[in-house]
C-alpha cells in the first residue's frame, strides 16, 4: 500500500475530520459544551495527525500503543454514552474515538480512505438530523476540505510515480503550491445552481417515519402533577405568569386562561420547533370553548388517557401512517401541549401515556423539553381550500354554542345581518369569515384598553383593527350567535419552509388563533384574519421558489420599517432578480415539459412511424453512400489516371490525406508533405511503403518538373488502393499540431498553404 508523502494531505484531512466531528457535536450539544468538545477533539486529532505525519516513514511501537490506548478509551466512553441513553450517539462517539486513535498511525492511503469513510458517516448523520441553517457552512467547509484533500491525495499519488519536476520540493514540507481558491468559488457557485434548479421529485418516504426521541416522558408524572408534587428538574424551566401549560413560551394562547388583549405582548422571534412535513399546516395546540368577552377558557375539559408501551398512540379508524406526516423537533422548553395538525390520526411520542381531549388536542405527562422529537400523522381533507377533519359526530355541541353572558346586542344584530342570506351552517360560517376579512384590518399594534371587559364590541364596531385573536374570537362569537357550533383554536401557522434545511421553521411570532366550526358534519377550519391564507399543499418542483418566498418574508420584515433605505432598495432589487430567475426557470421547465408532452403525443400517434421511416431511410442512404463513395472515388481516379496523370497524382494524395484525416491525423496547412509522411509512418508502420510511394509521386509531380512514367502512376494507384483497403482500422486519438515557435507566417502564406493543400 502506498505511503503518504505529500504533507498537505494531512492538513486537508485534519480540516475534513474536524468539520465532520463538529457537525455531529453541534446536533447534540449545547453551545458551551459543543465548544469544549470541539476543542478537545481538535486537539486530539491535531496531535494524532502530527504524530502520524512525523512518523510516516516507519510505524513505531509507541504509535501503535497510543492507538490501542485511544481505542480502549473510545470504547469505554462510547459505552458510557450508551448507558446515558443514546445508542446512535454512542456509535458516533465510538467512531470519532476510533478515528482519533487511528490518526496516530495514519501513514498509508488505506488509512486515508478509512478516514474519508468515517467523516462521511459523521457528516451524513449530522446533515440528516440538523435543522439549523448554519449547518450549511459545515457542509461547505466539509466538501471544500474534501476537495482539497482529494487534490492533495492526487498530487501525492503522482509524486510517488514521478521521476523529477517538483517532487523534491513538494515532499520536503508543507508546500501548498496550489491554492485552488477560484476552484472552490466556482464549485460553490455551481453547487448553488444545482441545488436551486435540481427538480425535487415527490419522495417515496421509505422508512424514516415515525421518528421519536430526545427525552422520555414517564406516565408517573401525571400522578405527581395531581398530587401537586415538585416535578423533576423543575428549576430547569423559566418561570412564567402561568406555568401550567405555557412553559417558556410567551404566547398567552397556550395557557388555561387566554386573555385576548394580552395575547400579543412582547413575543420574541425565537424558533419554537422545526417541523418536517410535506405541506404547510396549522399545528394545533389548544382549543377553547368558553368566552367571557375578554378571555377564553375551557370549562369542562374531558380528557382521556392514552397508554402505549412503545409510544405509538394509534387511532384504530385509520392506517397508522396514513395522511400528512409530521415530525416535530422542539427547540425550546415549552408546556405540555403536543402540537399536531387537525385531524391527527396517529401520534408517536416518547412516553408511555398521554392525554387526549374531545377536541383531539394532546398533552404530555410533563412539560416538553428542548430536543424532544415526536411524529404525527394527520388526515387533512380539503373543503374548498379549508382544512377539514372529515365527517365526525359531535355530541357535545352545546358548549360550543355558549355566548358570553353580557354580550352586546349589537353583535347579535351583526351576526344576524351577516348570515341573513346564508343557508346552512357552512354557508353562514363562510359569510362571517368573508365579512371579517373584508371589513377589518389586521395589525399587531396594541390598540385596546386593557381595562375594557367587552373588547369584541370595541373591535367590531369602533376600532375595526386588531390581531388574529380578535378576528378569531369575533368569528366564534358571531357564529355562535348565528347558531353555528364553533371553537377558538390556538397553535402555530407552519408555512415558512427554510429553503436551506427543508424544514418548516416555526417561531414564537407564528403563534396564531383561528376558528373551527362544526359545519358540513365535521369540524372545518376558518381563517377570518386578513393577510392570512390557509396553508395549502403546494408542491414545489424547485427549491428556488421556496428560497424566494423565504427571502421575501424576511425582507418584508426588514423593509417594512425602513421603506426607502438603501438596504431596502437593495433587498428589493435582489428579490426582483431572484423572481426573474425563477420565472425564467419555470417558463423553461414548462416549455420543456410542454414540448415533451406534445412530442410524446405526436410520437404515440404517428410520429413513431415517421421517425422509424426517417431512420431507415437515413441509414440506407448512409450505407449506400458508404458503399458507393469508394467506388466513385476509384472511378474518378481511374478516369484521371488515363486522361491526366498529374491531376491523378494530386487527387490520389488528397484522397490519402482524407483517409488519414478521418482517422485523426489531418494534415495541417503548415506541415510539408515529407513531414506529414514522417508523422504517418510513425503511426502506420504497415503502410510505410504505400505512404512513401504516394508522397514521392506527389512531390515529383508537384515539384519535380519531370513527367511521371506509367509504372509510377500504376504503383501510386496500387498504393492508394492498398491504403483504402487496409487503412480503415481503429480511429486513433486526434493528433494535435503545435505551430512551430518563432516561425512567422503571414496571412498570405497561410492562405497559400491552404491552397496548396487543396491543389
Amino acid at each position: 500500500m502506498r505511503k503518504i508523502q505529500y504533507p498537505p494531505v494531512y492538513l486537508g484531512l485534519y480540516i475534513l475530520q474536524i468539520t465532520a466531528v463538529c457537525a455531529v457535536l453541534r446536533t447534540e450539544d449545547r453551545e458551551s459544551l459543543f465548544i469544549t468538545k470541539a476543542f478537545f477533539w481538535a486537539a486530539i486529532y491535531g496531535v494524532g495527525l502530527l504524530y502520524g505525519w512525523r512518523h510516516r516513514e516507519r510505524k513505531t511501537d509507541v504509535s501503535q500503543s497510543l492507538t490501542n490506548v485511544f481505542l480502549v478509551v473510545a470504547l469505554l466512553y462510547a459505552f458510557m454514552v450508551y448507558l446515558s441513553g443514546s445508542l446512535e450517539m454512542a456509535i458516533l462517539t465510538f467512531l470519532i474515538g476510533v478515528q482519533g486513535a487511528r490518526n496516530f498511525t495514519l501513514t498509508q492511503h488505506r488509512d486515508l480512505y478509512f478516514a474519508y469513510l468515517i467523516s462521511l458517516i459523521l457528516m451524513f448523520y449530522g446533515a440528516s438530523v440538523s435543522q439549523e441553517t448554519t449547518f450549511v457552512f459545515h457542509i461547505i467547509l466539509y466538501v471544500l476540505s474534501g476537495v482539497y484533500t482529494l487534490m492533495a491525495d492526487h498530487i501525492d499519488e503522482r509524486l510517488s510515480l514521478a521521476k523529477g519536476g517538483d517532487k523534491e520540493i513538494l515532499t520536503k514540507g508543507m508546500n501548498l503550491s496550489i491554492k485552488g481558491g477560484w476552484v472552490a468559488a466556482v464549485s460553490l457557485g455551481l453547487a448553488f445552481i444545482i441545488y436551486l434548479v435540481f427538480p425535487r421529485i415527490p419522495s417515496p418516504h421509505v422508512q424514516g417515519f415515525p421518528s421519536i426521541g430526545g427525552w422520555y416522558y414517564s406516565g408517573k408524572d401525571w400522578k405527581k402533577e395531581a398530587e401537586g408534587g415538585k416535578r423533576k428538574k423543575e428549576g430547569f424551566y423559566r418561570k412564567g405568569p402561568d406555568r401550567t401549560t405555557g412553559g417558556e413560551l410567551e404566547y398567552d394562547g397556550f395557557r388555561e386562561r387566554f386573555d385576548i388583549v394580552k395575547a400579543r405582548k412582547a413575543i420574541p422571534n425565537t424558533v419554537v420547533f422545526h417541523l418536517s412535513s410535506s405541506r404547510p399546516i396549522y399545528a394545533r395546540g389548544k382549543t377553547f370553548d368558553t368566552f367571557d368577552g375578554r378571555a377564553w377558557t375551557n370549562e369542562r375539559p374531558r380528557e382521556t388517557y392514552l397508554r402505549s408501551e412503545t409510544g405509538e398512540f394509534i387511532s384504530s379508524q385509520y392506517q397508522p401512517k396514513e395522511g400528512t406526516r409530521q415530525i416535530y423537533w422542539l427547540k425550546k422548553n415549552m408546556g405540555n401541549l403536543i402540537f399536531a395538525a387537525y385531524r391527527p390520526v396517529s401520534l408517536w411520542f416518547p412516553s408511555d401515556s398521554i392525554k387526549k381531549d374531545t377536541a383531539l388536542c394532546f398533552k404530555a405527562p410533563s412539560r416538553l423539553r428542548k430536543g424532544t422529537k415526536y411524529s404525527v400523522a394527520s388526515k387533512i381533507n380539503d373543503l374548498e381550500g379549508r382544512p377539514f377533519g372529515g365527517v365526525e359526530f359531535e355530541r357535545d355541541n352545546e358548549r360550543y354554542l355558549r355566548l358570553p353572558s353580557h354580550l352586546s346586542p349589537r353583535i347579535e344584530d351583526l351576526s344576524r345581518s351577516i348570515t341573513a342570506e346564508s343557508e346552512g351552517d357552512y354557508e353562514k360560517a363562510k359569510a362571517v369569515e368573508e365579512y371579517l376579512k373584508n371589513n377589518y384590518e389586521y395589525t399587531l399594534d396594541t390598540v385596546f384598553d386593557e381595562k375594557n371587559e367587552d373588547t369584541l364590541d370595541e373591535f367590531l364596531f369602533e376600532k375595526k383593527r386588531g390581531h388574529c385573536e380578535y378576528f378569531a374570537s369575533s368569528m366564534v362569537v358571531l357564529l355562535r350567535a348565528a347558531g353555528v357550533p364553533s371553537r377558538l383554536v390556538t397553535g402555530y401557522l407552519a408555512n415558512r419552509r427554510n429553503p436551506v434545511t427543508g424544514y418548516y421553521e416555526v417561531r414564537e411570532l407564528d403563534a396564531h388563533a383561528w376558528v373551527e366550526a362544526y359545519a358540513a358534519q365535521g369540524w372545518v377550519s376558518f381563517e377570518p384574519t386578513p393577510r392570512f391564507q390557509f396553508p395549502c399543499e403546494t408542491r414545489q418542483c424547485f427549491v428556488l421558489s421556496g428560497l424566494i418566498r423565504y427571502v421575501e418574508d424576511h425582507l418584508n420584515r426588514i423593509t417594512e420599517a425602513q421603506q426607502e433605505s438603501t438596504w431596502a432598495r437593495l433587498y428589493r432589487f435582489i428579490l426582483a432578480c431572484l423572481k426573474g430567475l425563477l420565472t425564467f426557470i419555470q417558463t423553461l421547465w414548462e416549455a420543456i415539459v410542454g414540448t415533451a408532452a406534445l412530442f410524446w403525443e405526436w410520437l404515440s400517434e404517428m410520429g413513431w412511424a415517421i421517425l422509424t421511416g426517417i431512420a431507415v431511410a437515413g441509414g440506407s442512404i448512409y450505407l449506400i453512400l458508404r458503399l458507393i463513395s469508394p467506388c466513385v472515388r476509384k472511378m474518378r481516379l481511374q478516369n484521371l489516371k488515363r486522361k491526366s496523370p498529374g491531376e491523378f497524382i494530386f487527387l490520389c494524395y488528397q484522397e490519402m490525406e482524407n483517409i488519414f484525416g478521418r482517422k485523426g491525423i489531418p494534415r495541417a496547412f503548415y506541415v510539408a508533405p515529407k513531414e506529414y509522411q514522417e508523422i504517418l509512418q510513425t503511426r502506420f508502420k504497415e503502410l510505410n511503403p504505400q505512404i512513401d510511394q504516394i508522397t514521392k509521386a506527389f512531390q515529383q509531380a508537384r515539384y519535380g518538373g519531370m513527367p511521371l512514367n506509367r509504372r509510377d502512376i500504376e504503383e501510386t494507384y496500387q498504393a492508394y488502393e492498398y491504403i483504402l483497403k487496409h487503412g480503415t482500422g481503429k480511429k486513433i486519438k486526434r493528433f494535435s499540431f503545435t505551430y512551430p515557435k518563432n516561425l512567422p507566417i503571414k496571412k498570405g502564406d497561410r492562405q497559400a498553404s491552404r491552397m496548396s493543400v487543396k491543389y
Binding site: A127, V136, I139, V147, M151, H154, G164, F198, S276
Partner: protein, 411 residues
C-alpha cells in the same frame, strides 16, 4: 473489480447515495451535500479540458547510448497561456529503460503563465536494441485526478539506438595465415612452431612434446615448453547465430545477449588493434557489415549488433557454411555458438570447410542449458563437440550464465 474502485466511481456512488437519501427523506441539507459533490464531479471533468491550453513540452535525448550507461533526459515544459497551469504531468515512453521505469513522469505542481521550466533526470539503459522513444505526453487531471486529459506532443517520437555493453579484452587469441602481413599484424605467442622465439612457459596439456625445453625442464624439475611468436590473422569475421531457437533465456540474460556482448567487445579490441573486421549474421534479414578497419567500422558493427534479433531460420552450421563464401582465405573467424545441442557432424563439416580455406576459427560456446531455469549445467568436458574442437586444435571458450566474461576472455 479494481477498475471500478476509482475515485470517480466512488464519488459518483457517494453523490448518488446522498441524493437517494435526500429524496427519500426530503432533507435539504443532504441535497446540499449532493449538489456540492455533483458540482465537484462536474468541475473535475470540465477543468482538465482547459488545463492544457497553451502547454507544450519537449524532450532532449542523445540518439545513441551504451547498454548499462545512464541516459540523460532533459524535459522542457512551457506555458504560453495567460493563466497558470496546475498539476501537469509530462509522461514519456522510454522502452530502453529497465522494466518499471519505462514510462517516466515529471510532475509540475504549478507552471506560471508565460513561463518555461526545465527538468532533467536519468535512466539506465537496460538492454541493447533499437527503440522508438516517445511520444511525449502532457497530462493533467487538475483538480481531483478524476478525469485526466492528455495532449501528445507532436514530433516527440525519436529513435534511440542502444549499443551492446562492451567489456575490456587484452587481446583475442586468434591464429591465421594472413594474406596481408603488413597490416594489422598482431604477434601472439604460442607453444610450438613459429617465426621467432618468444620465451618459455610451463607445459600445458595439448602442447607438442617436441617443443619441450629440456634445460629449463631439468632446472625446474617440471615440464617447460618454448614459445614462439606467430602472425595473427588480419582479417577477422564474427559470425552470429541468429536462429530463432538460439536465443535462450529471459530479459538481458539470454544466449544471444551474451553472444552480442562478446562480439561487440571482440570487435572493439580487434579494430583497435588494427584488424580488418567483418560481421555476419543470418536472421530474417541478413546482417552483414563487410570487411573494413577503423573506428567507423566499430560504429557500424555496434549499430548492427544493436539491431540483431534471433529471428532467422538458418541453423548455425549452415550459416558457417554459407558465410565461408564471404570469408577471405587465410583469415580468422570467431564463431559464437549460442546453443550447444546442434548437429555436431554438420558443425565439424563446416569447420573443416573453413580449414580447407585456411581460415582459423575461434569458437565461443555458450551453454544454453545454464540459461534455462532448473536445467543442469554441463561442464565443457562432457560436451562431445568440445572434445572434437580440442582434437582439431581449435581454440574455444565455454561460457555459462553468470560467468564473468572479462575474466574468461582474459585468462
Amino acid at each position: 473489480m479494481k477498475h471500478l474502485l476509482t475515485k470517480r466511481t466512488l464519488l459518483i456512488a457517494v453523490a448518488t447515495a446522498f441524493l437517494l437519501v435526500a429524496w427519500n427523506r426530503e432533507i435539504n441539507l443532504l441535497y446540499g451535500i449532493f449538489s456540492l459533490i455533483a458540482s465537484t464531479i462536474i468541475l473535475s471533468h470540465l477543468l482538465p479540458r482547459f488545463a492544457l491550453k497553451g502547454v507544450s513540452a519537449s524532450r532532449a535525448l542523445d540518439p545513441t547510448a551504451f547498454e548499462g550507461d545512464a541516459l540523460h533526459l532533459k524535459v522542457s515544459v512551457e506555458n504560453r497561456s495567460w493563466r497558470s497551469r496546475f498539476m501537469l504531468e509530462v509522461l514519456d515512453s522510454i522502452p530502453a529503460a529497465p522494466p518499471g521505469s519505462r514510462n517516466p513522469m515529471t510532475f509540475l505542481a504549478k507552471l506560471p503563465a508565460r513561463k518555461e521550466r526545465n527538468y532533467s533526470y536519468s535512466l539506465t539503459c537496460y538492454k541493447r536494441g533499437e527503440y522508438d522513444v516517445g511520444p511525449l505526453t502532457v497530462q493533467s487531471a487538475y483538480p481531483l485526478g478524476i478525469s485526466p486529459t492528455e495532449k501528445e506532443m507532436p514530433q516527440s517520437r525519436r529513435g534511440l539506438l542502444v549499443y551492446p555493453k562492451i567489456f575490456e579484452l587484452a587481446r583475442v587469441r586468434l591464429r591465421g595465415g594472413g594474406n596481408r602481413p603488413l597490416s594489422g599484424v598482431e604477434a601472439i605467442s604460442q607453444a610450438g612452431a613459429g617465426e621467432e622465439f618468444w620465451g618459455v612457459r610451463e607445459y600445458k596439456r595439448g602442447d607438442d612434446l617436441r617443443y619441450i625445453h629440456w634445460p629449463s625442464t631439468a632446472k625446474h624439475r617440471r615440464l617447460i615448453v618454448k614459445e614462439f611468436e606467430i602472425r595473427a590473422s588480419t582479417e577477422v569475421t564474427i559470425l552470429l547465430d541468429l536462429h530463432k531457437d538460439s536465443d535462450v533465456g529471459e530479459g538481458k540474460e539470454t544466449t544471444l545477449e551474451y553472444a552480442v556482448k562478446i562480439a561487440a567487445s571482440m570487435a572493439k579490441t580487434l579494430l583497435e588493434k588494427g584488424h580488418v573486421l567483418q560481421l555476419v549474421g543470418y536472421g530474417r534479414k541478413n546482417h552483414i557489415v563487410p570487411y573494413t578497419r577503423g573506428l567507423n567500422q566499430l560504429q557500424k558493427v555496434l549499430e548492427e549488433l544493436a539491431r540483431v534479433k534471433a529471428d532467422g531460420t538458418m541453423p548455425y552450421p549452415h550459416a558457417i557454411c554459407q558465410s565461408s563464401d564471404l570469408l577471405r582465405d587465410g583469415g580468422a573467424v570467431i564463431l559464437l555458438f549460442s546453443r550447444s545441442d546442434f548437429n555436431t557432424e554438420e558443425a565439424l563439416y563446416a569447420l573443416r570447410l573453413l580449414r580447407a580455406k585456411r581460415i582459423r576459427p575461434l569458437c565461443v560456446m555458450i551453454d544454453h542449458n545454464s540459461f534455462i531455469p532448473g536445467r543442469i549445467t554441463l561442464s565443457p568436458e562432457t560436451n562431445p563437440f568440445v572434445e572434437d574442437l580440442t582434437s582439431e586444435g581449435i581454440p574455444f571458450y565455454f561460457i555459462s550464465k553468470g560467468d564473468s566474461l572479462p575474466e574468461i576472455f582474459t585468462a
